[in-house]
């Protein structure tokens, strides 16, 4: 019926919205339910991390790095600590390295659980959210015993870690691994991953071709969902990751097209299994010894120079570029948040003309962004 004229509608999925993950504004031009064009606006959570870092010394910057990607704080701490250690050429004790790996992988599991839970909730399934939080609670209790906080740890610092891991905490971690895999992950698969309605909401939706992803600088599970096997833990190993055996799950177009939302979601679920594997290996090989370099803890004064170091956070490549002028305060710290690049691909994905308003929610959820990282 070519004579029906429909008007376009300009919708504002505003900064306050139940399913944009954080304060994020998208202006959508729609024709009925089909999205013609979308434009994202960020900056609502900008907290001047990089400027603040110029005025605080190297130890005081650590709590600020926590708050960038607040769901995977250990990875941010780790990235910053390793950057400064790279500049200083500082060697961290073995026990500290193992503890760092255990803690980073546990945090990755917690972050992916959060992504899984909120993704189900965005699409209408409220119950998996509660189950994910029940399991995440166990990890957060472990972290509370370990360092005293549940979300912003400031645990991994330049020279090692702040507190030692006692036997009680190690037993807790072991118990968590026993409980989590395989029973719980199988339950998530049955409840949400292979649910017919969930598959029809996420398969063939938001297909991200590999070349588009590489052009926009997408990293992490979003890139691996499109089929490219790139993970910094295997390609450019940092810390002691080259000693552990684990797989890199990659999307395969099992339920639809390669690179759709289901693939990205499934990569995260499979990564949780691999993280449990890494934690078990690290627990077995945990040596005794120092948990920190005491001299470094008292104060750090790196030599003049600049360095860029990157690690694999839960959402992608977390990078820190550090310029030091020899004093106790860094001259310039630049943080690369992976969600910033991941979110930039949203406009390209939705402007192709095959996306509905309900799909926008699915795509934003599958990219797993944290606005603290986007805006820093």
């Amino acid at each position: 019926m070519p004579d029906i004229k429909t008007e376009e509608m300009l919708l504002n999925m505003g900064p306050q919205h139940p399913s944009t993950h954080g304060v994020f504004r998208v202006v959508i031009r729609t024709d009925g339910e089909m999205v013609l064009e979308s434009e994202s606006h960020i900056g609502y959570l900008h907290r001047c991390f990089e400027k603040v870092a110029e005025n605080n010394n190297y130890l005081q910057v650590v709590p600020y790095t926590d708050r960038m990607d607040y769901l995977c704080a250990m990875a941010n701490n780790l990235g910053y600590a390793e950057t400064v250690e790279k500049l200083m050429k500082l060697q961290v004790p073995e026990r500290a390295e193992h503890i760092r790996v255990i803690v980073a992988e546990l945090n990755r599991i917690a972050s992916h659980l959060m992504a899984f839970g909120t993704y189900g909730m965005d699409l209408g399934a409220v119950t998996p959210f509660l189950y994910a939080f029940r399991d995440r609670e166990m990890i957060l209790k472990i972290f509370e015993k370990l360092c005293g906080q549940r979300l912003n740890y400031s645990y991994v610092r330049v020279g090692g870690v702040t507190f030692d891991m006692t036997d009680e905490i190690l037993a807790d971690v072991e118990r968590f691994c026993e409980y989590f895999e395989p029973a719980i992950l199988d339950e998530y698969d049955q409840l949400l991953s292979y649910n017919g309605i969930f598959i029809s909401r996420t398969a063939n939706v938001g297909v991200l071709p590999v070349d588009l992803a590489v052009n926009y600088g997408v990293t992490g599970p979003s890139l691996r969902g499109s089929g490219l096997k790139r993970d910094l833990r295997k390609d450019e190993p940092y810390s002691i990751y080259d000693r552990f055996e684990f797989d890199i799950p990659v999307g395969s177009g099992e339920m639809g097209t390669l690179g759709d939302c289901w693939d990205r979601y499934m990569v995260r679920i499979r990564e949780m299994r691999q993280s449990v594997k890494i934690v078990r290996q690290a627990l077995r090989h945990l040596p005794s010894g120092d948990f920190c370099d005491k001299k470094a803890f008292r104060g750090v004064k790196p030599p003049k120079g600049e360095v860029y170091h990157k690690i694999e956070g839960a959402r992608g490549e977390v990078g820190f570029y550090l310029v030091s002028d020899g004093t106790t305060k860094p001259y310039r710290v630049k943080a690369r948040g992976p969600s910033f690049s991941n979110i930039s691909v949203l406009d390209a994905l939705t402007s192709r003309g095959d996306c509905m308003v309900a799909d926008m929610v699915a795509i934003i959820g599958s990219l797993d962004i944290v606005m603290g990282e986007v805006d820093r």
Binding site: S19, G124, T127, L130, L192, N195, I197, F198, R201, M356
Partner: protein
């Protein structure tokens, strides 16, 4: 706000009154079934020798208003219970406990919420269409309330046993759609409008498979009256229509799925999709107006479950002839008869509540479908299958005929 309750109740009762008056003129009211308060009162007045000067239609309206308020009271009590049940069911499925503070295990929580809602500020957006904004909840609630007129609550416990019972339920349900469209339009909010447009398509589309299920059942009975439909399912539970032939079994499942969509419940809750549209068409409503929408939703849930029980799952017959015979004997005393009536009412209401529980169970397990998938399910899955089952069921009745499990008895 009580003005709005009164208005909806009045609307509903006047419609029922008009239908009954028209049916009376055409002489199509059956002799048995239903409470005929009017006939009863006229009998009592004749026996006492008092002549009533009140014209017929006024008496009928008054009687029906009383019955309507009784039904309305039942809906309120049920909504209180249903909100508590939903919160408890969802909590237990999610590893938590739900309301525990107010009353034993939170039984009085809904009353506390109701009091809170009445005390809230009544906000009407400045640019909203005020008459439509105020009228919308009334129409939605009246639409749901009107559907309760021919619904039996037990044997001979029905507000008005219309001859066109099932047809009336299906037809009058469309009034709700108008109310929802008015609510979304009058809110002056693009997101509400989104919810409204989705609602209009959804509710109207899913009436077609429901209609097919109704027609198949009516073909087995030969009458639209809900009372008659239940009466023909007496006996062992194999007499229930869902077990009568395999096509009706499939139709029962199709009816349950389509009725979920008609109630705007998950997985079909696009109109009130909480994570996309904040609250859909009732985003801008606060306080008692929102409570009216809420009440209407739970009333619709009960209604749809009760209709399913009545036409497919045996109504008030419990399926065990011993229990069903209580109170039906010719020489039973009033006490036994009342006991029988109460048992039957209890059976009907508990079956409906079980189906309401199943609706809640489905809601808290499944994600939401998208708009085009919802239309796909309706027009490409439910409708062809229901039409095929309709044809199959009528053929079966013609050929196998009679009653019994799959025509074997």
């Amino acid at each position: 706000m009580s003005f709005e309750f009164f208005t909806s109740a009045l609307l509903a009762s006047m419609t029922g009154a008009t239908v009954e008056e028209v049916a009376r003129e055409h002489g199509t009211i059956p002799e048995q079934g239903g409470i005929y308060l009017e006939a009863g009162i006229r009998q009592i007045c004749d026996a006492m020798g008092v002549t009533l000067l009140v014209p017929g239609w006024l008496l009928i309206t008054a009687m029906l208003l009383i019955v309507c308020l009784l039904v309305f009271g039942f809906i309120n009590v049920f909504a209180l219970f249903a909100v508590w049940l939903e919160r408890k069911v969802s909590a237990h499925m999610q590893c938590r406990l739900g309301p525990m503070e107010v009353g034993f295990h939170g039984a009085l929580q809904t009353i506390a919420d109701g009091i809170k809602l009445t005390a809230k500020e009544d906000i009407i957006p400045r640019l909203a269409d005020k008459p439509l904004f105020i009228l919308a909840p009334i129409i939605v609630f009246a639409g749901v309330l009107m559907r309760f007129v021919p619904l039996p609550f037990g044997q001979r416990l029905v507000a008005s046993d219309l001859d066109l019972g099932l047809f009336y339920v299906a037809a009058v349900g469309s009034v709700e759609v108008i109310g929802v469209i008015m609510a979304g339009w009058a809110s002056n909010n693009k997101w509400s409008l989104f919810g409204t447009i989705r609602t209009a398509t959804q509710m109207v589309s899913y009436e077609v498979p429901i209609g097919s299920a109704f027609v198949a059942v009516i073909a087995c009975v030969g009458s639209f009256s809900l009372h008659e439909i239940v009466q023909s399912q007496s006996g062992w539970f194999t007499q229930w229509f869902c077990l009568r032939n395999p096509f009706l079994f499939v139709l029962a499942i199709i009816y349950l799925v389509a009725s979920l969509a008609g109630c705007k419940r998950a997985p079909f809750d696009l109109p009130e999709a909480e994570s996309e549209l904040v609250s859909g068409f009732h985003t801008e409503y606060s306080g008692m107006r929102f409570a009216l929408f809420f009440l209407a939703e739970y009333a619709a849930m009960y209604l749809v479950s009760a209709v399913a029980v009545v036409i497919f799952f045996g109504g008030w017959w419990s399926g065990i002839p011993y229990l069903d015979e209580i109170g039906l004997g010719a020489r039973d005393s009033l006490a036994v008869e009342t006991a029988g009536l109460l048992i039957k009412a209890g059976v009907l209401v508990s079956k409906s509540i079980f189906l309401v529980f199943v609706q809640m169970w489905v809601r808290w397990t499944l994600p939401r479908v998208r708009l085009d998938q919802m239309m796909h399910i309706c027009w490409k899955v439910l409708l062809p299958i229901s039409l095929a089952c309709l044809v199959g069921s009528t053929l079966w009745e013609l050929m196998a005929g009679g009653s019994g499990l799959f025509g074997l008895a």
